[in-house]
């Protein structure tokens, strides 16, 4: 444990004129479950593809298990399981045939083959569907099959690119249970996700924005980074309330979330009565108003706003 399994220094990838990944520094230790979060276009997919050796590095270096990606991109492949964002298995092959195909390409010995495919299919809950063509599996099952295919060679490092995007909540939960199990067994996992509740389940989170890693810490510390508390308001008239809240003094930021407003303040307990009073004076009715815990999502939006400002 505590070995540096991924070492990234100044990692940059330029597409034409866009710096999709821009000077990334990151060290990941063996056994981490590292979440890469950030808005669309932040550079998450490019980062994972670079780490999987699928793209050439424009500047900087990255090493996985001590193998430099610039010089030995093929040396890392036996140790890495990469799962692309879109479905990238062979639709006309059955679930089992897909597994066997990747098993052979990853040089899984024939004596391990049967036991391992059986175990993975069971692990992914796909045993009853093993002879069904991959194209005819549901979205969630396809994702689980893809994960099984990336696990077939028992990789040291898993690179998963938004593995739960487009998957129903039940399958999403099942998927994360599998990831947690792998994490507990000691596999190093780097997973990108647009879902903040998933980021919360990681041991460490890297926040990407415009190709840069703007924060990198445990979920707990990231939530603390915004140094604020949140007052959640559910007004009757949303627009009127928003206009009024924006005029208030001593508040740091207002985020809207559906019909509710999240007001970032220094101290929820102290400022709650104040805000209640002001809203009442302005004749704004509220259905509820309370001090709420800070979620990753609010921290994330706040941190990005600070960068933009």
């Amino acid at each position: 444990m505590n070995e540096k399994i991924v070492e990234i220094e100044g990692l940059t990838r330029i597409f034409k004129k866009t710096r999709a990944v821009d000077g990334l520094h990151l060290i990941i230790e063996t056994g981490e479950l590292f979440g890469l979060v950030g808005p669309d276009g932040a550079g998450k997919t490019t980062t994972l593809r670079l780490l999987a050796g699928l793209l050439n590095i424009s500047e900087g270096t990255a090493a996985l298990m001590g193998f430099d990606l610039n010089n030995q991109p093929d040396s890392i492949k036996p140790y890495v399981g990469y799962m692309a964002q879109q479905f990238s298995l062979y639709g006309e092959l059955s679930a089992l045939e897909n597994l066997l195909f990747f098993a052979e390409l990853f040089d899984v010995s024939s004596k391990d083959l049967e036991e391992r495919t059986e175990r993975l299919l069971e692990f992914a809950g796909l045993l009853p569907f093993k002879n069904r063509r991959a194209a005819h599996l549901s979205g969630g099952m396809q994702k689980k099959l893809a994960l099984a295919c990336t696990l077939i060679h028992e990789p040291e490092i898993l690179l998963l690119d938004e593995p739960t995007t487009g998957v129903d909540p039940v399958s999403r939960r099942e998927f994360w249970n599998i990831l947690t199990e792998l994490h507990l067994r000691g596999t190093t996992i780097i997973v990108s996700t647009p879902y903040m509740d998933e980021a919360d389940r990681c041991s460490r989170v890297g926040l990407m924005y415009a190709g840069k890693l703007i924060e990198c810490d445990t979920p707990h510390n990231i939530r603390k980074k915004i140094d604020s508390e949140i007052i959640e308001v559910w007004p009757v008239n949303w627009q009127k309330a928003l206009d009024k809240v924006m005029e208030l003094e001593n508040i740091k930021e207002v985020q809207t979330y559906g019909e509710t407003l999240h007001i970032l303040v220094d101290s929820g307990e102290r400022q709650l009565p104040e805000i209640k009073r002001s809203l009442k004076k302005a004749g704004i009715e509220v259905r509820s108003i309370r001090v709420a815990p800070v979620h990753m999502e609010q921290a994330f939006i706040s941190l990005i706003r600070r960068i933009d400002a």
Binding site: F15, L54, Y82, A84, S88, E92, F101, L105, F106
Partner: protein
Amino acid sequence: MNFRHVWAVMRKEFHHIIRDRATLFLVLFTPTLLLLLMAYALTVDIKHVPIAVLDYDATQTSRAFVQQITAGQDLDLYAMVYSIDEIDALLVNGEIKAALVIAPGFDRDLLSLRGMPLQVIIDGTEPNSGNFAVEHISARAETFVDSAVLSQWQPAGVSSDSLSVLDVRVQTWFNPDLKPRNDLVPGLISMVLGLPALSVALTLAHEREHGTLEQLLATPIKRAELLLGKIFPYVVVGLLNVILIPWLAIMWFKISFNGNFALFFGLSAIFMFGVLSMGIVVGVFMRTQAAALALSFLVIFFPGFFLTGIFFPLASMPEEMRMEAMFLPGTHYAIVTRGIFLPGVGMEVLWPYAVMMAVLGLVYIALAALFFKKKLG
């Protein structure tokens, strides 16, 4: 080279071909359909060409001659006319494709062996029918001379050789049986058997478009393993056609196969390797199936038509084009098919072409492996 990797890719590719009915149908039957289509389209029997006759001679001999040439289904007598102007009008209106003018004194000149004063006017906008009329009239003139004239003069000791003074130009190569196909079909075979190259050119782009390449590149597979694994299934399917297509040529088109079939099969396998390697080079450079298809047509399909010497003899091409033709496996294979089908020649003649096809295949697969990067962008 890890053959387990190659084998894995091959099996996957076979599944793809066999389970996708459209792909299966295309790779199995496109060559057959194309051969049938082209063999018929390119050697279509011209029949019932309408002609007009202007008979200045108006003798029994000239009438017998007209009857002779319009007998059967080849030329139809559209009208007997009385002036060149009438011919002109009929040609302009497209009512006739050719006209025969029999000069005054036809009967006298012919029977006195002085000549055969005939004129054939054809519609130059449709040279095929016109030429057909000319050939046909010439051929029938020969028969006519034989039957009508020779019988009269032979008792007088005139041999058929001396009739050459009659200046009846007879193109003996033409006849309405299937003879042109004897030469054409083996050439066409060499072309249609190269068609799986188009499918191969598409397979890499197909993987790119479906995102499966991304997953494939994340495995330790070597470039050459992947490319060979993709080519071999199409070699096998192509070899099924190597059996099917000559069978079709022999049974359907009644082409005689005078060579050794085992030799034909072996050389065809080498050709498959060559032309499919060429296909994979196209696949390496093109990112979408549409682009791969377009480039295949440009560098494989059309040159397969025009540069391989099937229709236009290599000898009549400019030097640069002949050089280019040498890089097409099909050029060498066309010589092989024609050589094995008709004269039935063996390896002692064909070995240089076998070597060329093998060398081209190796060069192309090396090029493909060189330029195929195990990267996405």
